[in-house]
């Protein structure tokens, strides 16, 4: 079992290896590298004059990019990646990182400039960040093909270490602050690849694999078994192979997913990030079990083709208990506790955790509509509060059964007003939870930042958050088989509104049925025995009746 330290080491070595590569390219700047000729792009950025400069800031670099790509920033300005805001036209809810609240790092709004350090802008570190300025777009955030930029930028911006490194030991880390070498990275820009997107998305909510279970660094070296599409020795897709990104508008959003694609194949010009976009509406070949294609109307592809979550060796969090966070040791120092496998099960900063690998997803009816709980909604502190609700049912023809990752946990609320609480985690003052571990002060600061009333009394509720999963598609031979569901206690056992062949038709019918069979056998046996007995008694002679 590879433990966390070894993995970190491997990652650091890998990053080191990658970052040592550009030196070769810089020695011969005017000539296209042979690998560039094999790329799909018609341009080799390492030979561009506009990029052959010493860039002192991201803004300078962006200006150089915009000198050719003159529409790029305008396009980015309308994207969710830029605005961190998404209005769901169907439900009318204002979503996006800026507005939402979850059970992991709770809320962006109250930590603005801190959380925003992984925003695709050039240093949204001040509340006054100008969202309309073109040079504020940080092109490298997505177009750095080495996948190293995001991490270096975070370090350069001095994001609080504990935002990512829960076990951070300051004494051992003198020289971690690495500055990105903008001039080198500028030569290696290109279409975003797995490493580019992954440099943020693999680390959602504070660490590798924590949030999703289907998006983590294991994809960077995916085997065919982990992901048929992204396998290095296979199709080797990148994120944008499916998430078509014309004019900087990405297809496929978690806020309004397409739960049942009925368009079918239309991949020419780019996939819409649905399976059907490439595989069509009858995806299984004629050689397969004829019943398989009969399932696609009610079962999402993902249900069978993502047999488990966190299959690549990176555990994902299944439980996040904020209510115990802030416990310090006798010396007043922060604590980190691990289980036998080296997973952090308690830290003062983040509270209690549970993790899982090869996690069987939960299954729910889902029609693509997700309602999110907002801070305006009243909650029932006695119930398990649903942070989001996936709409759908067996009666709704738009719904299919989807696999979801459920994150359970406990998180702070305003105990009197009965609303979810926003929390200030980061900061130098004592109203930052990670500074003074004072819930009342940090919820107070959080609520103020979010523009909400705060009664002054903090409580905790149990919460659940569900995310449909889409990635780590296994090859056919690793997918679920019929019996995964068509058996007693199969995977769909808890899904309402279905009759599952292969699980029987209920005990009552079987009791009557077996009684019928049993009594038939008894009657026959009794009749036969009696016949033989009587025959012996009558000596085979006929008795007058």
């Amino acid at each position: 079992m590879v433990n966390r330290e070894q993995r970190c080491l491997a990652l650091i070595l890998a990053i080191g290896l990658i970052t040592s590569l550009p030196s070769g390219a810089s020695e011969q700047p005017a000539e296209a590298a042979p690998s560039a000729l094999r790329s799909q792009s018609t341009a080799d950025h390492s030979t561009f004059e506009a990029l052959a400069q010493r860039f002192k800031s991201g803004r300078e670099l962006t200006k150089a990019c915009l000198s050719c790509h003159n529409l790029a920033a305008k396009q980015v300005h309308t994207s969710t990646h830029w605005n961190w805001e998404f209005t769901n036209e169907e439900t009318g809810q204002s979503l996006g990182k800026r507005n939402l609240l979850n059970s992991t790092l709770i809320s962006v709004s109250s930590n603005g400039p801190y959380c925003a350090r992984c925003h695709i802008g050039n240093e949204w570190t001040e509340e006054t960040f100008d969202f309309s300025a073109e040079e504020q777009v940080d092109c490298l955030a997505c177009h750095d093909t080495t996948g190293t930029y995001a991490s270096k930028k975070m370090h350069q911006l001095r994001v609080k270490c504990s935002a990512c490194h829960v076990e951070f030991d300051k004494s051992k880390s003198r020289d971690v602050v690495r500055k990105p070498n903008l001039s080198e990275l500028a030569k290696r820009v290109g279409k975003p690849n797995l490493a580019s997107c992954g440099s943020c998305h693999f680390y959602s909510d504070g660490g590798d694999g924590i949030k999703h279970g289907d998006l983590d660094t294991s994809l960077l070296s995916a085997s065919r078994h982990l992901d048929v599409h992204m396998a290095k020795d296979g199709l080797d897709y990148s994120c944008t192979t499916c998430h078509k990104a014309e004019g900087h508008q990405m297809r496929g959003t978690r806020y309004a997913p397409e739960a049942k694609d009925t368009h079918g194949i239309d991949v020419v010009g780019g996939s819409r990030a649905t399976c059907e976009s490439c595989h069509g509406l009858a995806p299984h070949p004629d050689s397969a079990n004829v019943k398989l294609n009969d399932h696609v109307d009610r079962i999402a592809c993902q249900t069978c083709h993502i047999p488990a979550l966190a299959r690549g060796g990176r555990p994902t969090k299944t439980y996040w208990d904020w209510s115990t966070a802030g416990r310090l040791n006798d010396a007043g120092k922060e604590i980190v506790e691990k289980d036998g496998e080296g997973r952090i099960i308690y830290s003062s900063q983040r509270g209690g955790s549970q993790w899982s690998e090869n996690l069987v997803p939960d299954y729910v009816w889902f029609n693509g509509k997700i309602e999110y709980l907002t801070m305006d909604d009243k909650i029932d502190p006695a119930s398990v509060v649903q942070l989001n609700t996936l709409a759908g049912s067996s009666d709704d023809p738009e719904s299919r059964i989807w696999p979801v990752k459920t994150l359970r946990g406990k998180q702070p609320i305003d105990a009197i007003n009965e609303t979810l609480a926003s929390v200030r985690l980061f900061g130098k003052k004592d109203d930052a939870f990670w500074k003074a571990y004072d819930w009342t002060a940090s919820v107070g600061a959080g609520m103020k930042a979010a523009g909400r009333e705060f009664s002054g009394k903090v409580g905790f509720v149990e919460t659940e958050m569900r995310n449909p999963v889409n990635h780590t598609i296994a090859p056919a031979e690793d997918s679920l088989t019929c019996v995964s569901c068509h058996s007693r206690n199969g995977r769909m056992a808890g899904v309402p509104g279905i009759f599952m062949p292969g699980t029987g038709t209920g005990a009552i019918l079987d009791i009557f049925g077996l009684l019928l069979i049993g009594s038939s056998v008894l009657v026959v046996l009794g009749h036969g025995t009696l016949r033989v007995l009587m025959k012996v008694r009558n000596n085979g002679r006929r008795r007058p009746s």
């Binding site: 019996v483 062949p501 036969g528 009587m534 008795r543």
Partner: protein, 202 residues
């Protein structure tokens, strides 16, 4: 006086034994699908059951055709004539070693009780398992066929299972009853060779 008569035509014997093996095989695979045990594995059980179903349906179509063209269907017309005697025979007289009160003939192969039971099988139970089985199989086409609004898969499965239990129970009685001829194998031999020794009606 005994008489040797040709009771079962070649098609009839072929039909009988292939149907018998199919039904036993379908009960075996069916009750595996019903989650009673694991034998072939669910997926294979379903595929075998479905294939056997198509064969059985084919066989039934032939059988219906055969019965219609040969007029043999008349053998199943129910009659109350001497039903009481037959019931009395099986429940009382048989223990006293009485001879069977009914004598088969080429034109009357079934005794009145058999007629009722077979008719029940052919008019109620077989169509029930047949129709419910086909509905089960074509579940995905219910919407196109306009059936989706009033049928539920669970009801179809229940009807199918009830019919399967009834067929199984029939099978038990049937197998027992064929062994109570003059010797246990008398009737079975007849269904193999076609010829049976029967008591002549005086």
């Amino acid at each position: 006086m005994k008489n040797r008569i040709y009771l079962y035509a070649r098609f009839e014997r072929f039909w009988h034994w292939s149907q018998a093996s199919l039904i036993i095989f379908m009960a075996l695979t069916g009750f595996e699908i019903h989650a009673f045990y694991v034998l072939f594995g669910y997926e294979s059980a379903v595929q075998l059951h479905t294939t056997a179903a198509w064969v059985l349906i084919g066989l039934w179509i032939f059988a219906i055709f055969w019965h219609a063209t040969t007029g043999e269907w008349k053998q199943y017309i129910p009659t109350f004539d001497r039903v009481v005697t037959i019931v009395r025979f099986y429940s009382v007289d048989i223990f006293n070693n009485a001879p069977h009160p009914y004598h088969k003939s080429r034109l009357q192969k079934h005794n009145p009780l058999q007629r009722f039971v077979y008719l029940l099988l052919w008019v109620l139970i077989n169509p029930a398992i047949w129709i419910s089985g086909l509905l089960y199989f074509f579940y995905n086409d219910w919407k196109a066929l306009g059936l989706a609004s009033f049928l539920s898969l669970e009801v179809v499965a229940v009807v199918h299972t009830v019919a399967a239990y009834l067929i199984f129970s029939f099978l038990i009685f049937h197998v027992y009853l064929v062994t109570i001829g003059d010797t246990p194998l008398t009737h079975i031999k007849a269904m193999i060779t076609g010829w049976e020794e029967v008591e002549q009606e005086e």
